[in-house]
Amino acid sequence: MSNRVLMKGNEAIAEAAIRAGCRHYFGYPITPQTEIMHYMALRMPEVNGVMVQAESEVAAINMVYGAAAAGARVMTTSSSPGISLKQEGFSYIAGAELPAVVVNIVRAGPGLGGILPAQGDYFQATKGGGHGDYRNVVLAPASVQELYELTVEAFNIADRYRVLTMILGDGTLGQMMEPVLFRDEEPVESFDKSWATTGTQGRREHNTIQSIYIEPDALERLNSNLQAKYRRIAEREVRVETVNCDGAEIILTAFGTCSRICKNVIRQAAEIGIKVGLVRPITLWPFPDQAIAAAAGQPSVKALLDIELNAGQMVEDVRLAVNGTRPVHFHGRTGGNLPTQQEILDKIQVLARS
């Protein structure tokens, strides 16, 4: 059984979290994602859940740290400037191996920037942001339906690996309304949380959640375990969509909102006789480098063109994946502007002719 509802992207995230069994939400208002908080403020009491408006993003992520340590499914959401403040907590969550879900509805930066959509936080999301050697799983939805589904999945990934999982959206996705197909019941997996600090209840030795290891060998052991876990995630959790890649002349690479524009460009290009394909990473970390290398490696491919709402961030990973076998070009817009289909098509025509 399932039903279809028209929903704003931000609300779909909130509803998905609740259906995934999240009963604890901590946040601080910031545009363009505050609807998530509004929704939680109303919905959480209905399901005996808790929504706390924290005094800052720093406090919110540390509340997440505490709730995750206590064994709960927990989420915080924010937008770029707030996500910068949360980086301290991300690093501690990684070190303490806690499961948590974080949503970043990215806005244009740097600094206070603007409230319009952007993808300028790709580096911050995928390459760290906080201190130390750690990884967050980063999911990049491209529709309201996918915001819903990937939010549910984010909780499962977080619990499966005891890792922070981030949804990286942007203002367009957060604000747009699209129909969402809900399943009546989400397949919520259950996980062993015997490590959590719940109070011993007299039934076990006491548990400790910590990220500090003064002994170098102990800390190196933690790091080796983390890296082994990240390798497992990289082997098992890569998600990618490929469109029209077989025998394409030009391969576009794009995630989130940009990938929607690219899909329209593929049709327009076909009308003028150029076969264009798209590789859309759904997981930004782990990055689908094999899918990109495979698409790029076809004899038909002349070049790749990466489209982003930033000055060129994911393109670095695309270049690593392609490893010099084909030229990789970039077109991006910043400040909250979106590239037009015509802009992209013009670039494609130049590349196809050369």
Binding site: V50, M63, G89, T197, G199, I212
Partner: protein, 251 residues
């Protein structure tokens, strides 16, 4: 017949403390641990360790423990308590941790009336990082970052955290104690017990500020350090109940 009149509380793991000679952090640990054991709440308690000399007191308390980032213990405790409202949650924090980097977290946890206990250890310096000025450093006090003595004109004034938090409605019990004499230690134990009783009764936020020694960074021997609490610290930080005097806690 020999009678056993004192033994280590089961609230402590038994791992030897790593604190300097004459440091009273250890006494405070024992008082908290004894209280958890005597109130029979050890099994339902989750403590939060700070960043400071006591960063690893999760090794000493025999209950579930979470180590927090510098100053964030009240936010971490909020997360824990909201997940397990029937548990007992406490934070243990130094004055750098609570009154400098974690000022926002403590003020808002208190204002929200989080049902947690905070044990705020005021030793007027940053102990762990070798004696820098804390927000609680006294005027005239020499530290490694106020080598000429704290001057109001240059470094401003000490923060009286208990008095400040006592203005908040959510902070239902606030008391300042010291652990530099038998009498004061007994008084401190009563305050710690009252804080947990307040939490047990779901009344709101409770904090006990504890004046504590740091002989190492004060440049004093243990005995003069105990004296300095009476001679200097208590003048800036008077002992007493700042909020919740009227709350009666039974045995």
């Amino acid at each position: 017949m020999e009678e056993k009149v004192f033994s280590r509380t089961r609230g402590l793991t038994g791992k030897p403390f790593h604190y300097c000679p004459g440091c009273t952090h250890g006494i405070i640990h024992r008082l908290i641990a004894e209280t958890l054991s005597e109130m029979d709440i050890l099994d339902v308690t989750i403590g939060v360790s700070p960043v400071g000399c006591t960063y690893n007191n999760y090794e000493y308390f025999a209950c579930d423990m979470v180590q927090a980032a510098h100053g964030r213990a009240p936010a971490v405790a909020t997360g824990i308590k909201r997940v397990h409202p029937d548990s007992m949650v406490f934070t243990y924090q130094g004055d750098g941790d609570l009154a400098a980097i974690g000022t926002a977290e403590i003020v808002h946890a208190a204002a929200r009336g989080e049902k947690i206990c905070t044990f705020f250890v005021n030793n007027a310096v940053y102990g762990m990082t070798s004696g820098q000025m804390a927000p609680t450093t006294l005027l005239g006090q020499k530290t490694t970052t106020s080598p000429l003595g704290r001057s109001a004109a240059v470094q401003g004034y000490p923060i009286n955290v208990s008095e400040m938090l006592a203005t908040l409605q959510g902070a239902v019990y606030i008391e300042r104690v010291a652990v530099n004499s038998v009498r004061n230690i007994n008084r401190a134990k009563q305050a710690i017990r009252k804080a947990f009783k307040v939490q047990q009764a779901n009344l709101g936020f409770a904090m006990v500020e504890i004046l504590s020694t740091c002989p190492t960074n004060w440049g004093k021997d243990p005995v003069s350090a105990l004296k300095w609490i009476d001679e200097a610290m208590v003048k800036q930080y008077p002992l007493g109940v700042f909020r919740g005097q009227e709350i009666e806690v039974g045995d």
